[in-house]
Amino acid sequence: MLALSRYNIISRFETGKGSSYFLVNPLSGHADILNEEEHQKLLNGNFPDQQLLLEKGYLVEPAQEQARFREAYLRFTEDRDKDELQIFFVPTYACNFGCTYCYQSEYQPEPGWPTREKIDAFFSYLDRELAGKKKYVTLFGGEPLLPSKSAEAGVEYFVEEAAKRGLELAVVTNGFYLKERLGLLMKAKIREIQVTLDGPAEIHDRRRALKGGGPTFDRIVEGVDAALELGVPINLRVVVDRENLPHLHRLADIAIARGWTRSAKFKTQIGRNYELYTCQQAPGKLQTRLELYQELYQEILKHPQIMEFHRPAFHVAKFLFDHQELPGPVFDSCPGCKTEWAFDYSGKIYPCTAMVGKQGEDVGTYYPKVELKNDAISSWQDRDVLSISACKSCPVALICGGGCAAIAKSKQGTIGSPDCRPVRELLEIGMSLYFPEGTPETETEKTNDDTRNQCC
């Protein structure tokens, strides 16, 4: 008995000619655009070409679809076992910035930098416990490039040890000291350096000022210029909310004028400002995921140059446009304790950057000795759309992937709950952006147009 696939995602989206419908199936890997007539026939069960629907996996024999689901899941987990690991190291939670939305603002950092002994213990852990795995290290914080003798010596030693092992290095920094530290960082092969600019100078400096006041924009821009000139990849993050989204196009103009967007070493990411733990001075300016991307879409329509600066993913819409295929199904979107681990200078190990430094959320220690909380690690590793009850019957699970475990725990008390993403709604916007032509005209529409165009 045939039935429509439970993984079909069907919805309407606006085009230049009115509206069309998209039909996306992340399990079968197909995507199509339908007009109103085709959409109705599909819903009414009298689509003319059943064979085509079967080939594309939109119409299925349910037992066969379940077998396909199981096979895709195994492939996903096997592929992830071979995936590269991102290992974060936090040498300090101290920071010279007083960002208005910092989620680490309530952390109580210990002063000083990790000793060589601790850095050696960190690398020994990598050498021994993660032997044979592809991996790279990321300096995180706080602010890892703070200018003190112990901090500089610590960074230098860390970079040397990474380079000795052939490990690529990424750095997440506020960028204030980037220009001065580039020479030191480049002793290792740099994967990328992430910095944040929240808009043009007056907007950015209001949100990301020095502790005690003082602008930061110009110094960060100098750092980005210097890095790109040296061929060092830059990942520019913009943390967005209602306050600065209307000014995003001006930041885009700056990046375009400085030549950043023409560099193959430059990329961007948009980060939604949101409430993680207690970090917001002005919660009224926050947006939901959907609100952010609805408003971003409107900004793009008003200021198309934003797309030269940043092309939003809208889940799989951008990928579909760029590659004419769908990415594989996502059974788990959270990398914690799987392809991401975070170590801090206290000797503790955490599942991810959202949890690192948070009391009670460590999953073990690497110093003074290696001790792992295997039950805690297992609960993170077991989390996916099969283990989260709400995800099992969700038609968008294979694009959402269950969301962020840290947010799920923060909101619902357990990582075994979902952090739902508005997949359908974001796809509606994304399809409008990347496929504005919608469907071709039907024969009926063409006839009507011909009639209208005739001279009377």
């Binding site: 992430q194 949101y274 996502v330």
Partner: protein, 64 residues
Amino acid sequence: MVVQQQTKGLKMKSLTKKKSSKPVEKKITKISDKLGKGLVQTERKPTEAQCCAKTSATAVGCHD
């Protein structure tokens, strides 16, 4: 860039490339406790990183 499916009056516009039919390889993979047995492996597909941590140095990217 997009393939027009012209089949029996159907004008669904395909957004995904036509796939070549390759023989399916049978391979017994490791068995997960959550799944059944008798599984068949087919060709791999690219995956899109859902969490910024995979494609970037990231801060809280995957949480956004």
